[in-house]
Symmetry: C2
Amino acid sequence: MGFDMQFGSPFPALKIREREPRNEGRVATKTRILAATEKLFVIHGFDATSLRAITTEAGVNLAAVNYHFGSKEELFALVLTHRLDSLSLERVRLLDALEAKGFDAEYTVEQLIAAMFLPALQLARNPERGGADFLKFLGRAYADPSPFVRELLADRYAAQDTRFVQAFAKALPELAAQDLSMRLHFMLDAISSTLASEDARKLMAALAATSNDSVEEDAAVLAHLGPFLAGSLRAKVNQPSQQRAIRAVLAFV
Amino acid sequence: MGFDMQFGSPFPALKIREREPRNEGRVATKTRILAATEKLFVIHGFDATSLRAITTEAGVNLAAVNYHFGSKEELFALVLTHRLDSLSLERVRLLDALEAKGFDAEYTVEQLIAAMFLPALQLARNPERGGADFLKFLGRAYADPSPFVRELLADRYAAQDTRFVQAFAKALPELAAQDLSMRLHFMLDAISSTLASEDARKLMAALAATSNDSVEEDAAVLAHLGPFLAGSLRAKVNQPSQQRAIRAVLAFV
DNA sequence: GAACGATTCAAACAATTGTTTGATTTTGCA
DNA sequence: TGCAAAATCAAACAATTGTTTGAATCGTTC
């Protein structure tokens, strides 16, 4: 479940042989492969997940991957875009809605942060679209070192990233472009590697547990995440306190 | 250069055959291998750096690695600890000095941040001990997905990490342990993945260029990094502004 | 039920990996 | 100079990788 047959390839280049699965007794081979791929990708990443491991996990023949998907890369491209496209769409939708309604002048940064992270929290709560492992999946995807994965993400979601960067720039006009760029870099890298780490996700689960309504849970997580991230984005450079602290430490060098 | 023969293995288990290199005409084979390993590790990471690539880069025979170092893992363990041990020592030394002198009550967080990051900036300025590529090396090491690298770092530098966590906890008594833990997680993950990324390091170089004294350069970088990190650590949870921002965004869901 | 395409399967392929072997060369010391 | 240890070398090894092949099987349709 989760996966099903509506896997129309989003890549023109990735057109695969289409056909209605005809056996009813067991889940279609393609679906089993996709599910196994997602499961093993979360654990091991792209490079370390072999086609033999996938086909064994799925209980299908090794050649089935190349037959149904063409290649390992095409298979993983489908798995990645299937999950991440909905995340991206939802993020942009929230950003659109906020821009249409007009930001709350005082809390623009907090609203942008909420628009960035609420969709992931929601997807993690929807078993059909990722479930609890969705955050793990997301972290893996953005932390994966394989050039193939990195280029796929960069190419496919660059436009969305740009829109958020521009929105943050507008909300923080006093911050130099250099500093904003560095801080957003930090923020996004932190999010993704944190999502990939087991204990950090446990922490977030613990925070969520302070409420019992599911919408309230998301709000609880954001109430802890948001100020932390907003605080970092709003901080002013060259504070005297920082200057003094640096001098004190430099004295020991 | 940089590397030389004082490669006494820090691991009892990793004792390698010791011997004074006897050929003078060219750099000793062991040294060439170590240098090539470091160079390729920075570019490709542990898994994707093959022994054949290393020995080709070093201009030595393929079997030389197993002959001189025993295995690929033992070779990389030497390269990693060689660089990271000095960083760790210097960090702890600064922390000791600060604790001995007594922290500046008002700026403890800033001082701790400086103690964490100054050593890396210094090493990056010392050609003998890493040079400009040291930050790249550091980022790679902490972002590397290989279980071998992750366990090596966790086992070897856990004690140092704990000391810093405790110092931060003391400096931020009003912050719940959960939140502090999450924020430090974010902070360290952000630092390492940022160091590994090309454009983020360019940004830091640009910041450093605003001064010409080399000590001043480090201070300049810290003046931009510090407030950003301190701001994130000091932020208070459950701010009304954050709560309102979350409500506004949740309305669109 | 014959025929045909879609699917599955075991097997092999070519390429790459870390490691080992055994002969050969180089080196330092007697 | 002679000799033994150390170092280098080409070659092979065993294991793993993604991919391809060609025959066997399955399902549908005529």
